[in-house]
Subunit: 138 residues, 2 copies
DNA sequence: CTTTCTGCAAACTCTTTGCACTCGT
DNA sequence: ACGAGTGCAAAGAGTTTGCAGAAAG
């Protein structure tokens, strides 16, 4: 059960720490390979998971692909319950709209933003005030 | 070039509009199938894309899987440039931390949140104040 | 009739996993 | 020597695509 400091783990860690961009697992693999040509992609995945579990690297949760669809057209955010997996709509007013002024000032054009909270929903947290545990609005 | 209103498209639309949860493409397929048993998953995907392009349904951009890794351990948000694809770190102070008070009051436990802005970065927007177009901090 | 759309299946991307072998400790 | 870690390749999810035939206009 004791963890080992292998060359592979150390190199993956160094590569991610040194990276200024936000490499995908594949990109990490390519860079590590320059030093350890025989390392496999599977090992990179395993080591990235291990490092993330140890909080030694950070996982960037970027909304990448469209995975879910919504008939509700208005702007709103989401709460993701880590216990029951529910996706709960949050009216935009439930959270302060993020301040884009600093971005605007820096010359960035903001078209949209996505805000997702993670945690435990009221139903799972034991507050018996919700009837349906899945997919209600707040 | 003219779009057709097929039974398949109409049914996918109705199902997504009627859904109170946030169905995945697969779930949409299952529901549509109850009415059109021969519809294929590929058609559902194509129609979801079409409806999203027409803004008739909303795509929920949920951070699904860990796709990218970061050696920067502090809390921060991201800006995704739609032009050059850059992922730019934003210090948390650049945007007002979202207000969780309403969620707390409703009995929700918030562990974390992910905030991503979409738009055009300063370099792509033509502001010549950035040297490297990819992956700088703000 | 023409052109778009569909069903099907194959292909593709990203990630995980089983297995025998390797290598830290 | 023991067992966690590795390379490889195969298997999984989730999504896209090529094609022949169906159907909307």
């Amino acid at each position: 059960m004791k963890e080992r400091e292998t060359r592979q783990l150390a190199t993956v860690y160094e590569v991610v720490r040194a990276a200024q961009d936000h490499p995908t697992a594949d990109e990490v693999h390519a860079r590590v390979r320059r030093r350890l040509p025989r390392i496999s992609l599977g090992t990179v995945y395993r080591n990235l998971q291990k490092l993330a579990a140890q909080q030694r690297v950070r996982v960037v949760r970027l909304p990448h692909r469209a995975a879910r669809f919504d008939g509700m057209l208005g702007e709103h955010d989401h709460f993701l319950c880590e216990r029951c997996g529910a996706v709960i709509d949050l009216m935009r007013s439930a959270a302060t709209p993020p301040d884009c002024a600093a971005l605007d000032r820096a010359g960035f054009v903001v078209h949209a933003h996505a805000l997702t909270f993670y945690g435990v929903c009221a139903a799972c947290a034991g507050t018996p005030r919700v009837r349906r545990p899945r997919d209600r609005h707040v």
